[in-house]
Amino acid sequence: MKRPVRDLEQSSRRIGRRALLLGSAQLGVAAALGLRMRSMQVEQADQFRLLAEENRINIRLLPPARGLIFDRNGIPLAENEQNYRVVMVREDAGDVDEVLARLQDIVALDPANIERAREDMRKLSSFVPVIIADRLLWEDVAKININAPALPGVSAEVGLSRRYPYGADVGHVVGYVGPVSDYDLSRIDDQDPLLQIPKFQIGKTGVENKLEHTLRGSAGTKRIEVNALGRVMRELDRQEGVAGKDIQLGLDERLQSYAQARMDGESSGAVVIDLQTGDLRAIASAPSFDPNLFVRGISVKDWTDLNENKYRPLAAKAVQGAYPPGSTFKMVTGLAALNAGVISPEETVYCRGYTVVAGTRFHCWKRAGHGNVNFHDSLKYSCDCYYYEVAQRIGIDKMAEMARTLGIGVKHDLPLSAISTGLAPDKQWKLEVRGEDWRIGDTVNAAIGQGYVLASPLQLAIMTARIATGRVVTPRLVKSVDGVEEPSGIGEPLDINENMLRRCRASMNAVINEKRGTGARAKVITAGYEMAGKTGTSQVRRITAEERARGVISNDDLPWERRDHALFVCFAPVDNPKFAVAVVVEHGGGGSTAASPIARDIMLQALYDGPPPLDAYPSADRARIEEQQARIAQRITQIKPAQDRV
């Protein structure tokens, strides 16, 4: 087929035209592409760069080491122990079952943990380390390390976990830590990113909880580069956190352990206050619990045991318990009356075994009566009628005021989980809380620390400390934080006539050291170590007139929970008080029989800063005391090694 030249040239021109057109369109598209490149790579570059960095960089928090808790002598009460755990990386392990089987031959592993680890390994990416076993012994870790070639993908890691070397002895005071829960997060307003770390340990009770912010420290950060699957490629940089601050308590661990051991078998609380500084040398509550159980995650059985024990081991009775103070309250009533001048110290009141107030008989503990008693004798013999009388003269409001001055019915601010306010009742309180008018019978009951009055062993110890020193003693639990001493707990003189306070102390001395004093059982022989104190026995049941006529049932014949509480407060040495001690034995019977021996032992332990010589005790007691000291020493040494396991 021939084609004329003209036709060809025309076709060529048309192709040329259209080619130019199409070429321009192509250039236009190319220009658009170039502009898009410019807009993304030049104008929005910073934004995309940021996104790329966010992609590749993960920030991991480095938990700081938690602050340690020491006693006053530098004995660690809460420490961080190295915790060995074994992790496994699936992709490095190859045959997971084979490696796990070999691992089980080398160290004993919990089958439940193994099952959970298998589950995790199935779910997670192959490069994520999965914890196989936690809290291993160093020997096991060593075995695993030696056998490393046979255990591909298995490695031992070291972490820190909390340990309480003295376990139950300080459980109520130090408290424990545990993994942060959703409940914790909902309850506390804390923006600390550390709390977002799964299973981050925070203080749950006691000092661990109340001083959480001091102990926790602040998080460090580690920037790591990850790939699209989340695998860590390398660490870019790291900024170490600030470790938590160490706390030194005023507590004396040896005295605390002694007190716990001494009260073993009772349901009781005891508080020792240092009268030079206000330091709480011991805050013992028996029975106690081992805080280490909670750190590891308490088993159902242990939890049930703790909860079903009728002695309530979880209750910190020394600070949390609120008991009718019984006769130990008589110092409050007496001082209120003396200070107000409604009765002179020498004025006597006649006790015939009971007093009739508003048609009701109020009995003295001594049926036969004490006859004429002045203030000194009333305290020494613990005559109830004397106080029935002075209480009516002064009135409840003045008594409540005196109670608060001495620290009862006041909340003391200590970094402990549950602090009882106790109760110093007055007319207004009854009207507000009970909606009833105050009656004279209430005053009479309150006079001897019964009725509505409630106090914790801590408050009783503070009361004793204040009477002994004549100053406002504020209890001090934390001695220093990070080496910085906290202010002393010994404050201004009390707003009480010093002369009356002196008489009160002299009468408390008489309780123990004079013939026929109610606290004579707690006598200390050594000169310069004598104690002054006051017994207390508070009823938890009502004694009916009928029972009284038949003869009051002895405590020994009653079931435990209906027996009287036994109380004892004391300070020593009498002429230069160094310590105040308060002991409450729940349902222990009489204060002089159940509480005062414990108080004396604890007091002597404190005064001698260790086991006292036997000749401090009256000769009749020495054989029993010697046997008891041996028993307690054995118990203390028995407990320690058991807890010293790694």
Binding site: E9, Q26, L33, R36
Partner: protein
């Protein structure tokens, strides 16, 4: 034999043809390929394995093939255009059948030393065949409806076969490449206006009908279209790749993060980093300067091809050269638009840069045809 109508006395013969090759195009192609080698080296983490080395070998083979094809007179290629097109359509059918038997989407035929994708081949043979068709067709019949309908069928048959694989990217390239040749050959404006108008109208109607009682597609179909058009709606699913690609590209900035320093590609945030998305790695590591330079290289290739075509009085040569240039342009512009988030993600590689044997060989053979047209143009 329209070629004989020209004066052929200046057509070079023998090895003198080498001097008449379109050397600027060869150099530009080599430059682009080198950029590809560098990127393949980089995405392999600084190793010629597993991508750069085979790519270099195939490029050298392709270069030899290109010059070989360029030495063969252009009239030979015109004469075999019909056969070539027929063979490639048959191969498409064959792949379709074997694929069906093999219970999978098989797109290639194993030639032993390489896997040939008939769809790649078809892109070139279609252009070749249409150029030959319009060379054969008297120019006054170009816009005759019957003579327009015929090439439309030629285009639609392979397009439909490729679409069935399914390979949307190649199908679009065939459609647009073929259409471009028809446009260049001088088919009347009105046809294109009608087709484009009808297409736009249909799409508009479909979208307009959405949410009305007479909507033309089902809801889930609309949703699929939404995701297809804007993957950003689904950042963890279909949108993940394109989002990561955009981050890589944008984070390059002016001068890039440096050779082998691209975090997006090195840390595997990028998908298909050695094939369809290799441009993002280049843009990340060499920045705007690098990415724009590559674009300029591509445009220069097009410019030299268009210049060669416009200087060529032979109708087949011009149409073939322009058609191949257009196909080449569609390749890189669709790929770039795709990774920059301007176009939906359809599987189109970046020509000469993306790893892939058959695409590169076919492309270089196509440029061999361009060389042949250039060497044997009537002078």
């Amino acid at each position: 034999m329209s070629y004989l109508a020209h004066n052929t006395k200046f057509v070079p013969t023998g090895f003198r043809k080498v001097l008449y090759l379109n050397w600027p195009v060869i150099i530009l192609l080599s430059a682009v390929a080198c950029a590809g080698f560098i990127m393949l080296y980089s995405v392999a983490g600084g190793s010629p394995d597993p991508w750069m080395e085979p790519q270099v070998k195939r490029f050298i083979l392709g270069l030899v093939l290109m010059i070989g094809v360029g030495m063969v007179p252009i009239w030979f290629w015109r004469n075999v255009a019909g056969v070539a097109f027929g063979v490639s359509v048959m191969l498409l059918v064959a792949v379709e059948l074997f694929g069906a038997i093999g219970m999978g989407a098989q797109r290639w035929i194993d030639l032993g030393f390489m896997r040939l994708q008939p769809s790649e081949l078809t892109k070139i043979t279609l252009v070749m065949f249409l150029a030959a068709y319009y060379d054969w067709l008297p120019t006054n019949k170009t816009s005759h409806p019957l003579w327009v309908a015929l090439p439309v069928v030629f285009i639609l048959v392979p397009t439909a076969l490729v679409l069935k694989q399914p390979d949307l990217g190649t199908a679009l390239l065939l459609l647009m490449g073929g259409g471009a040749v028809m446009f260049l050959a001088g088919v009347h404006w009105a046809y294109f206006a009608t087709v484009i108008g009808a297409g736009v109208g249909t799409v508009y109607a479909v979208f307009l009908s959405r949410g009305t009682p007479w909507q033309l597609l089902k809801d889930y179909q609309f949703r699929r279209i939404d995701t297809f058009l804007d993957p950003g709606n689904d950042p963890l699913g279909a949108g993940y790749h394109i989002t990561q690609a955009k981050i890589a590209l944008g984070s390059g900035g002016w001068t890039g993060r440096g050779f082998m320093q691209g975090t997006q590609s090195r840390l595997n945030f990028l998908p298909e980093k050695h094939t369809d998305f290799i441009f993002t790695t280049l843009a990340e590591e060499f920045g705007f300067v690098g990415a724009f330079s590559l674009l300029v290289l591509y445009i220069l290739i097009i410019v030299f091809c268009v210049a060669s075509a416009m200087n060529n009085k032979d109708r087949f040569s011009s149409l073939l050269t322009l058609g191949i240039a257009m196909t080449f342009f569609l390749f890189f512009s669709v790929n770039m638009a795709m990774v920059m988030g301007l176009a939906p993600v359809v599987g189109v590689p970046l020509p000469l840069v993306s790893y892939g044997g058959s695409a590169m060989l076919v492309l270089l053979v196509a440029f061999g045809l361009v060389q042949s047209a250039h060497v044997h143009k009537p002078r």
